[in-house]
Subunit: 394 residues, 2 copies
């Protein structure tokens, strides 16, 4: 017999994977068009530059030594520069990937059982993190200008929450950018609620070629130490390049540091050294330019194919950054049925349900275009999705 | 102004670093003899072999790709073989260091607020992990044969705890090895309590040359899926070599996996590839033999110097594995005052207080010998400690 583990079954929140994060991490069957991956296609990853960076990191003396707990000073400095100038290197902690940084942050900011305000929709990984931390996700609707301030204010009032997590730039899944008008509102509302805004700045380095100037991170406007900023190199590099940063001002920084140290100690030095080698190499800006052009092309190819072949799927917003489109399905669509039919037809898509903490207002699909080889694969994926829609939508 | 963060000050357990873990992670002033480090001295780390392993890992195709969530199959297989045969590769998860593996384990096994049984004394990092997880540490005394079964049984009965964490081999700090008589008792008691035994097998690869055959891991005797086993490569290599394994049987494995994925996703592939390269190289068994001989020499040098120069410090047990000695101070010694005087005299030692979840029965010091260059530095450290004792003990 094995311990049937009443202990275990009762102690881990049953909902920890209600969002299906584990399922999406499983490799799809070969030949399937992957519209549901959040990572760059192998051809878009800076593979040679990363291999060179690791080799150079390995030759540095003391490559396996203990780095300073907070991270290598030069790497903290590099991340701080990318945050718009309001943050100094001393306010940055190096962490091991965005997922892990968000886990640390929520554990540091909210006790088990507390409410946490999240954008709605938001990405399933964040819902899983919140639930695994024993928190109660409270959804606050976003529109194409980001979170709606009046609803945010009401949610703080109704719940007494002390934390709001948001993605102000190319939000996942909607692609929304928090508007210039709303930015100060969000900061004011959080400050008045005595709460923190956790800014998950996850795709600033996956901007498209035609984007024009980007808004600075919200943390650059923050005069009061309200914002805890999270960003990562993973999305712009490769799944195993798990190097990220957490930044905060004031007393909360020490609490983030304490939780980070207890949970992880520090990020292994070879990864930090490799990150410094990579972002300091001439290949890095070239890589970012290539990705910006390739993502724009893939985005346009996918949007055009969808409009041509799947006009019944509404595409209200085409973002100029990030790696996905968010489609609204006709009322009454069985989105799980559609996703299953799509997989049978050879295309993996993400149904909208796991992006909502509560009952969704409508059926959706999220289609990612980062993991695809190019226009040919995109066309084939849309053709297969058309077949699935014919079967399910009738 | 920065947010003075009532939110933060109330939500992180104030006691999270009551054990002083953060302080011990700070680098000591230069010239100080480090009797308080848990890592091997640079000269004992397999630096060239690790650099070569990293370089080879970087040349493997797809070195930065996503590994399987549970870890590379060959590495899971390698860890499984080291666990005494009862565990298969399918029951092993690769994790990023022992600290992180224990955090995942406690979060998976016990809800916030629950009691968790810990050996007393135990290492401060474990107390910090338990407190950061919101758990209530319940100390169960150990003697030189490991945890005392009758007290373990009583503690389960009194608290209803569902988890007991122990280090059956060369326990930190006492060096105790759980005796052959007590091993089945501990398993029976846990099984009858419907509880898990978390086996932190942290120094199996830091055994001394004169140790003779070791007892197998407790997990090898476990017929009921009671044991969750944790082991790591870090202690036998270098601080940044954060590659470890978690093993469990039955339904709890899936819960460990779910928490591990939400908190960390996976261990970066280059570290896993480097681990495989390292343990598969001819340098690896040579390294372990060298460390076994060097640790025995350092242990003997330290024990001899202490007996000669500090006879008033009781040394009840000299272990044949691990990297530290546990000394009892004369009754009434101000151990914090002694540690402070020692640091002024140029030697860093760990006072005993942080090793106890509750009031200590006596004053202690822990002296580690792994981080020292050799016999000369050990002699100098003991000379300085003698000076501090003269000042404090009078």
């Amino acid at each position: 017999m094995t311990l049937s583990a009443d202990a275990a079954t009762e102690v881990v929140p049953r909902s920890v994977d209600a969002t299906g994060v584990l399922a999406t991490l499983a490799a799809p069957p070969p030949g399937v068009v992957e519209f549901n991956s959040g990572y760059l296609h192998a051809s878009l990853q800076p593979e040679r530059a990363m291999a060179a960076a690791l080799a150079r990191a390995g030759r540095r003396p003391g490559a396996w030594d203990r780095p300073p707990i907070e991270g290598l000073p030069e790497l903290r400095e590099w991340f701080a520069r990318g945050m718009g100038g309001a943050i100094t290197a001393a306010e940055v902690l190096i962490t091991s990937g965005g997922q892990s940084a968000l886990t640390t942050t929520l554990r540091a900011l909210a006790p088990p059982g507390a409410p946490v305000l999240l954008e709605s929709p938001t990405y399933p990984g964040l819902l899983a993190i919140a639930r695994a931390a024993g928190l109660r996700p409270v959804p606050v609707p976003v529109d194409t200008d980001g979170v709606r301030p009046e609803l945010l204010e009401a949610a703080f009032r109704a719940t007494g929450a002390r934390v709001f997590v948001c993605q102000p730039l190319f939000q996942n899944p909607t692609g929304a950018v928090l508007s210039a008008e709303r930015r100060p509102e969000v900061l004011r509302i959080a400050r008045e609620a005595g709460a923190f805004v956790v800014e998950d700045d996850f795709v600033r380095r996956l901007v498209h070629e035609d984007a024009g100037p980007l808004p600075t991170p919200l943390t650059a406007d923050d005069r009061d130490g309200v914002v805890v900023h999270v960003c990562s190199l993973t999305k712009a590099t490769s799944p195993s390049f798990r190097v990220s940063a957490l930044a905060a001002r004031g007393p909360v920084l020490e609490r983030l540091r304490a939780i980070q140290v207890v949970d992880h100690f520090f990020v292994p030095r070879p990864l930090q050294e490799a990150a410094l080698e990579l972002v300091g190499s001439p290949a890095w800006p070239r890589h970012l330019r290539t990705v910006a052009a390739e993502l724009r092309d893939r985005r346009d190819a996918l949007a055009a194919a969808l409009r041509l072949r799947l006009p019944e799927l509404a595409l209200p917003h085409v973002p100029v950054g990030g790696y996905h489109l968010w489609l609204r399905l006709p009322d009454g669509t069985d989105e799980l049925g559609l996703a299953a039919a799509a997989l049978r037809a050879g295309v993996a898509v993400a149904p909208g349900r796991p992006y909502f903490a509560a009952e969704p207002p409508a059926a959706h699909l999220r289609l990612s275009f980062a993991a695809l080889a190019g226009a040919g694969e995109i066309a084939e994926g849309v053709r297969r999705l058309r077949a699935a829609c014919d079967e399910v939508l009738g």
